[in-house]
Point group: C2
Chain length 457, copies 2
């Protein structure tokens, strides 16, 4: 390992420079104006994989954005690790809140600042540089494959079918993913649970045109007021989601599990302080870690309607809109939840409006066992680099593809992410510490060493 | 009158051509980018007034947008009519819903199509052409003054002070205003009641930055969900506004007044059909005409927050916003209502968010007596041109300056508007029928004849 550590140290500035090439491309999958950037980013990534030692790297078409596939086969009889990541990024809205250009990466205060610095370009590139390090130091003892997609931020719509078409190519013993966070730099963690997702867009329409709120106000249902009321009624006073059947199939936590969550390192006061809020809130009877980790939730991600410009306009708009997402937990099926939501939302609409519900995308929740050999290899790697055994963590986020891989490829995933809460992924001023980037590469190299040394795959 | 009618008919195409000059200027007072257009519009209007026969016309500065003052003094001892109107217009949002360029007027299907075609450039210009007609046919027997402001659509913020500074200049016996609508072409009406207005903007802030809705959803208050709930709680199940003290001072309708409202020509089914809605809604115990005419109301005029672009973004935004207006009736003070709203909105906010309330502007309600000589002169003029006695009508709209004039100048106003519901003021595709424009000029000329023939001012 000393050789590997020395290699990383010697080449670390070049590693960051290569990552900057990736970060400069605005591969925003949610905005069609960036479609050419998405393709350009895939092509650059394939090139970087070859430069880093892959035998082959291909930009493979899908029904949506292309997937970058690459591999280094050292011995067909050896174990195979399949690395998953995504090269697409979230939109930058609101752009005026960025302190630096989101697509002109800089290092400031020890952090790489750019959209995608953490999620997921920075994290996926650690795997590319771990491959180079192992090849250049002669320590790679298994096969490595990469599948890096370009639709993770919009629901990974194409990868399931693509996996189904390439089962042989993707044959592997374990999938390795870095797209999650550490509890903190001092408390390393491996993500063992992910929530699922059901994302919908709703439209509430009242009158057939925008109306003058003076002439009609008081007699004609205002779609914004109606939509607000409908949103408000989706969660009750106890923090429970009111959609009939929403909680069906969810296993309640056993007292022992409540105790395990309570034992996880977490400081409510520090959490509130870092967010600038006076208190948390949520479903009655659960703690913050339970509410975000293993209980479902419902959030409005966007709302708009009427006049939102400067000054005042006295209008009753014809329509109002919202984007609403639900995080799901084991026992919930995102297809069924989408149907339940749509039926309920139509049901609670007053007769004075018409309602349209469009399910945009969804994904299944995932739980990873902590007794897998690969989990133990990852756990030992963290302990070696961080000096502390990592905590198994139930994240509230969703990586819907993880359950897709289990279903389509029959392979489990290990979520060894190196992000930090402060990285502000999905927010303005996303960043990723250089220290995490370098230690991530080292931890990944150690994982391979531990994993290939094990008897069982 | 035959001479006047013949003159209008002979010159009607030129009249419309001049109005088009005004309509081509995007004098949108709510958007600072249009500030130069607002001034340009005032200058053009002053020029048109002089061309139409005014002794003098001036663009007079205020603390905000200028006011166009003009006069034709025929005899200092004669009666004086003061015409009020506004040359500013509403924004055109959403611009993609316009079938023709909002600032390139055209006549199609007998209607002038442009922003401001009715509200209020089209209606105010009838008064300018009525002046020309009376001068050219030698029938003007009283003094005429004009005060045309440029801030009506943003709350008439400067005119009160300006009126106070120019009381002598503005001395008049009656104020004449065309900025309202007829019940229909077949049912002429004179507006006797206007609602007041209190317009606020609210901001609800939760976490100090946008958050990933997966990682935080379920534990951190989402400002959009919170704002939706707060908006929903402003109106109860009976359609009553829940702000404590909101209804204080409002006189309840007497049974006789309910009967008068019920007797007004109005068809609920036709009203719903024209709006494309299945039913009206509102405060329990009141009819549609009462709800919009003499009862207060509360509407959200705009709402925004989070991700509103294409596709999906899983964000809990730091803040959410809404523009909310309340229509007020006699007995309500808009300053006090603004304070009550702000206090209540802060009061109902959960501890998990911070709330900011900004009162943008307001105006007092107004009621005009139907036994004024000028009302009788107007009523007779409508009867002469429309063949039917006009109905006294209580409009739900607000022209806050009307009560300002009464307070600052001690002069009552007669609201003889010629708009139609179909004119879509404040909406995309605003229009104004040529027939209303021409008949409006004739009715105004007849008003002067009737009014100057009366013994009492």
């Amino acid at each position: 390992m000393d050789k590997a550590k020395a290699y990383i140290d010697e080449h670390k500035e070049r590693f960051v420079g290569e990552l900057f090439e990736l970060l400069r491309i605005p591969s925003v999958s949610a905005q069609s104006v960036h479609a050419p950037d998405v393709v350009r980013c895939a092509e650059l990534l394939a090139g970087l994989l070859v430069r880093s030692g892959a035998d082959r790297a291909e930009v493979m078409p899908t029904e949506g954005n292309p997937i970058v596939y690459a591999e280094k086969i050292v011995d067909p009889a050896a174990k195979t690790v399949l690395v998953y990541g995504h090269y697409d990024v979230m939109p930058v809205d609101p752009p005026d809140r960025w302190e630096t250009d989101p697509f002109e990466p800089v290092v400031r205060d020890g952090r790489i600042r750019a959209r995608g610095a953490d999620d997921d370009k920075g994290q996926l590139y650690m795997h590319v540089k771990a491959l180079e390090t192992m090849l250049q130091t002669g320590t790679l003892a298994c096969n490595v494959k990469f599948m890096i997609e370009g639709e993770e931020e919009i629901g990974s719509g194409s990868i399931a079918r693509w996996c189904g078409l390439h089962r042989e190519l993707l044959r592997a013993d374990i999938i390795l993913v870095s797209d999650t966070s550490l509890l903190s730099w001092k408390v390393p963690s491996i993500t063992c649970g992910l929530r699922g997702l059901c994302y919908v867009e709703v439209e509430v329409t009242g009158p057939n045109r925008d109306l003058h709120s003076g002439l009609y106000g008081g007699a004609v249902a205002n779609p914004i007021n109606v939509l607000s009321g409908m949103i408000a009624s989706l969660i009750d006073a106890e923090g429970r989601i009111t959609i009939p059947g929403f909680y069906d199939g969810i296993r309640e936590l056993a007292p022992q599990e409540h105790r395990e969550f309570a034992a996880a390192p977490f400081c409510e006061a520090a959490y509130c302080k870092s967010l600038g809020i006076l208190e948390t809130q949520g479903e009655k009877g659960y703690t913050t870690l339970e509410r975000t980790g293993i209980r479902p939730s419902l959030d409005v991600n966007g709302i708009w309607g009427g006049y939102t410009g400067e000054g005042a306009k006295t209008v009753i708009p014809s329509s109002a809109y919202a984007k609403i997402s639900m995080r799901l937990v084991p026992g919930q099926d995102f297809h069924k939840i989408g149907e339940l939501f749509a039926a309920y939302f139509r049901d609670i609409a007053p007769r004075s409006v018409k309602v349209r519900v469009k399910v945009l995308h969804g994904g299944a929740p995932y739980v990873s066992p902590t007794d897998l050999p690969a989990y133990r290899a990852a756990s030992a790697a963290f302990e070696q680099t961080f000096g502390r055994k990592p905590v198994p963590f139930y994240s509230g986020g969703s990586i819907p593809v993880i359950s897709v891989f289990e279903k389509e490829l029959g392979v489990k995933s290990i979520l060894m992410g190196f992000g930090l809460d402060e990285d502000a992924i999905h927010s303005p001023n996303e960043s990723y510490p250089l220290a995490n980037f370098y230690r991530g590469i080292e931890t990944i190299v150690r994982f391979y060493a531990n994993y290939t040394a094990m008897e069982t795959a």
